[in-house]
Every structure is written in C-alpha cells, then in structure tokens.
Symmetry: C2
Subunit: 348 residues, 2 copies
Amino acid sequence: MSETTDIVRLRAFIARSLVVCDMPGPDAERVAGLMAQADLMGQDGHGVFRLPMYVRRIRAGGMNMRPRLARISERPATALIDGDNGMGHLVMHHATELAMEKARGTGVAWVGARHSNHAGPASLYAMMPARENMIGLYLAVGSANHMPPWGGTDMLLSTNPIAVALPSRDFPPIVLDMATTVAAYGKVKTAAQRGETMPEGWMIDRKGRPLTDPSRSSEGFLLPIGGPKGYGLSLIFGILAGVLNGAAFGKDVVDFNSDFNSVTNTGHVILALDIAAFADPDQFRAEIDAVWRQMKASARLPGVEEIRLPGERLHKVTQARTEGGIPIPAQLRAVLDAVAEELGVAPL
Amino acid sequence: MSETTDIVRLRAFIARSLVVCDMPGPDAERVAGLMAQADLMGQDGHGVFRLPMYVRRIRAGGMNMRPRLARISERPATALIDGDNGMGHLVMHHATELAMEKARGTGVAWVGARHSNHAGPASLYAMMPARENMIGLYLAVGSANHMPPWGGTDMLLSTNPIAVALPSRDFPPIVLDMATTVAAYGKVKTAAQRGETMPEGWMIDRKGRPLTDPSRSSEGFLLPIGGPKGYGLSLIFGILAGVLNGAAFGKDVVDFNSDFNSVTNTGHVILALDIAAFADPDQFRAEIDAVWRQMKASARLPGVEEIRLPGERLHKVTQARTEGGIPIPAQLRAVLDAVAEELGVAPL
C-alpha cells in the first residue's frame, strides 16, 4: 500500500522547495504545477520523482533560477527562444504559449528552444494546444545518450521523444508520447530496482548480444524501434530539436544523471497547428471520436481484451488519481522527506 | 543482366504515355520528371514501376487528367489544397512549392491536400525544400490498408510514411523516408516474386502467429515498428494527413491495388521550415556535415563494416544511376512494352 497525496498538496510542496532554491514565486508555481500534472497523468518518472535531481543540480549551480528568456530570432510563424539555462518547464511553457499565439494568426507555428533543461514528459506541452482546438507536436533531445547510431557502439544519441496531442469530443484526446527506443531508460532502471529480467529487444551489449540483466545496463545500450528506422527518427528529431536550435546534440549532450553542474544546453521544439485553418474544429473533434470508435470496434487477436488508443491510459490514470489521489511509494516518500529536510521546508 | 535506360528517355516515355491518356503536356512533363526521379533515386517500387497501374486507373476513369487544384482554406502559414482527383505528383508538387513560398516569409508552413492520389516516394517532396536551405517533412495516408490497430485484426491502417530531408554541405543531404511498419508492403511482394521466406517480425496471421511465407500474405498483416509505438505513429500520421484534410482514413481508404475506379481521396501533408529563421544556413549545413562525421566515426558492432546515415544509399544510387543508367529488369520492360502498345506510343 502506497500513501497518496493530491495535486494541490503536491504542487505546494514542489513550489516551496523551489522557492527556497531562490526561484521566484510565480515561476515556482508554474514549474510545480507542470511537475504535479505529470504525476497526475501517471508519468511517474517525470514528475516529483525528478525533484531531488533538480534540487541537486540547482544547488550545484547547474541551473539558473532567474533566467531571462530571450527571443533570439523571430518570424510570423517561428521563434527561437534562449532559455538562459532556466528550468525546462518554464522555457517550454513559454515556448508553447508563444507557438499557440502565433498559430492562431498564421495557422501553424514552430518554436524552438536552446539553453533549456529537462522539461518533464513530452505530452505536457503537446497537450497544451490540444486544449484550445489545436494540435500540438513536441520533440526534444533527451537528457542523456543511451543509444549509438545503428550498427555502432558509441553512445551518440538519446531516446529523443516525440509527442503529438489531438483533441476529441466525447472520447479522451489522442496523445502519443513515445521514445524512439523500444524501452525508455526509466524502464530499465525500474526493472533493475525490482530485480527483474528485461525482455530481449530492449538492450544489447557491445558485442551485439541481447542484454537482459538490467543491473548490467552500463555494459550495453538501448535499441531503437524498428532498427534503422528508430535510429533515423532519433537522429532527425535530435537535429530538429538540437542542432537547428543551437542546442546540444551527439557528443555535446551532458548526461544529467551524472553531471550536475555543466550547462546542459537542452533543445526542444513545439509545433502548434490551428485546426480551424483546415476544418471546423467541432467537426474535426467528432471525427476523432469516430476514429476512436472505429479502432475500438476492430476484431481482436486471440488473448487481446481491448484495443487501446494512444492517450487512453494517460486519461484513465488522470481520472483515477484526480479522484483517488496520487500514490507516493514509501521509497519516494523517504527521498522527498530528505529533500524537505535538506531545504528546511515542510514535508509533503 | 538488366537493360538500362537514362532519365531523359525514361521521362520522355512516361510523358508521352500520360499525354495520350489526355493529360496536358506540361502536367505530363512534371509527373514524368518526378516518377523518373524516383527511379533515379533507387525507389524502384515508386517510379515507372507504377505506370501500368496509373494507366489502368486513368483508363477506368479513376483519376482526373485535367484537375483544377483549389485552395479550400488558407492562412499566412497554412493551406488546404483540393486536388480534384488529379495525380498525386501534381498535387504534392504544387503543395510543396506553396509551402516553400509561404515558409520564406513566415518561417514555417504546413500545406495539406485532399482528393489527391498516390504521389510516389515520400522523399521526392521532402527533398524539394532541402534544395533551398529549408527542411522538408512529408506525411501521407498510404494507398491501401495493411495493418490493424495494435492487438486487432481489422485492417484499418496503412503503412503511413514519414519523410524528412535536411540539407548538408559536403556530405549528402540527410533523408529519412520510412514506413511506420517494419517492412513496406512492396518488400513482401518482392519476397513473394522471388520465392523467398520473410523474416519473423514482418507479418503475423490472424491468430497472432508469425507469417513468413509471403505467398500467404493475404492471410495476415504487417507489423508496426516498436509494436504499439509504430501503431501510434501510423494513427497520428494518418489523422494529420487524412482526417484533418478531409481525406480518406481508416475504413474509407480505397485499396488502389484492387479498385481502379473509385475516387481514393488520398491525403498528404508537406511542412517546409526555413532554416534561416533559426540559424545561418551555411553554418547549419556545416553542422549537418559534423553530424555525418560524428556518426560515421562511431566504433562498430562486430561484423558491421560501416555506419550509415539516412539518405546515404539514396545518394549513392542516384550517383551510380546518373552515370551508369537506370536498370530496367526484363519483367518490367515487358510490362512497359505492353503499356506502350496498348496506348499506341513508342516504347521506352
């Protein structure tokens, strides 16, 4: 049995932790809201779970608590934001609001960011436009390299994710949020903690042999989805979110799990597309409902109980946690209590 | 030994075949140029190989030879084109030129199309912006459903491809052009023609068992890359290229391999992104060269001779065929001769 908390308490705890780290109150509220939202949505590896690492980086001088976000370049439908080494949540919330504002006029907007940091789950930002009759698409350079180019052994690529969110009417929004690797690195860490074996296909070692013992994960690397295809996607997303924005890519990516004071220069992209530029938004939303119905009604393979759509689990977890609370496992609770004590703030 | 032809002769043959099918000369030249370009690039399943099927569809009244392309809606950075059931090459060439023109001003542009048709390889259109210091991204609803939703058995999805092209300086452009399935359907057909066995992982049958005999392909379906992830990508790309544009998706997709006169209402999307809105284009191109060098220099797995980048094979084949000619296998030659005779035009 896990203890549970609710989003109000969780947000307040994160906010007061950030404020004593010298983050201005409104910024702390914003970051805390986005982090707690990640937990509410079931993205357990990207919410308050990350707070101890963020605090460690902040105290090591690795993140700027009072960044001045700047527009390096701008066109009617594009912008490049310099995040001034602020928390990624602040940078990408700002970038996404700007993209939505631009897309309302131009139909589509693409806003890139550099000198940012880890921003939590990709879906957080893709879902913002989807709440306002837009489609959101988010790309990022992952915050540590876990994958070589296809056929190689030098870890030059990350799990570079893509998230896309589309609004619906009666059904939940469709939300795809995926790494370009078969398994995200967090899944490997979870398997190691639980003493479980990984399925073949997640990782290989430096000789190309399947690696199924997660405690040996440092001896190998993650495999991309579809072999060279996932490698291609990771490479392209990394160039669009990293190289194009003047952000870190390849050898320049700082492993934020082991280096707490180097500037990560993390890059991201948000695209907002105004549905009304193509179709009546109500009609479009009804058609997304029809897509739900059509997929759900498919005949199923033996043993399959239900066809799922991307975003379905996220929606169910959000509902369940809104009603029943957000579980805080004992191990996480202990770590958060230690952070509270270190910072001298009231615990969760 | 295959006979070879060159791009000039190939283009002229395709153009005269389309002209006698009542396509206006300039349109026929354009389509022929794009189709022959596909062959030059090594996209053998998407070039002149398709001519017999196109001619069959045209003669069955399934495509409009004199379409009036219309802008259904427009914003500064977006447009929706109605292709009036014209050939997809015409529609998407027009859409891509429009996207590039818009992106020069706004920084990015997204142009969707409906009432289009099969347009050849995705990379043709993604590469157009890449020749002018832009990045191109193309999505399409495939022209036949070969995949169910994950866990299902109703074929509601296609191999919905993505192509992205990025310019470089001294190295070839990076060009990713991939189906969201492990194997494109053309590979299954090729394996069947050659009497080869397919590897496990390409297809399963309706009981979920691996299907490795390509002559039994109608008893099963293609598998997406990364399981539910590739399903999610196919679904999202299909919605963006299909549903949003008012084009066919899901049950409404017409199988253009077996139905030659129904309007396919094919949907596509092209996005053009002007590099100069984010970075100095020369500097960006030099950085893409650096990406090439970094990936190429990676240590390799045992047995791997070379690390490849997406677009490398395409570039090498283009160079080889520009110098040495485009191979026309005897079987294809016979089919093209039959088309020439049927149409009363000079053979290739």
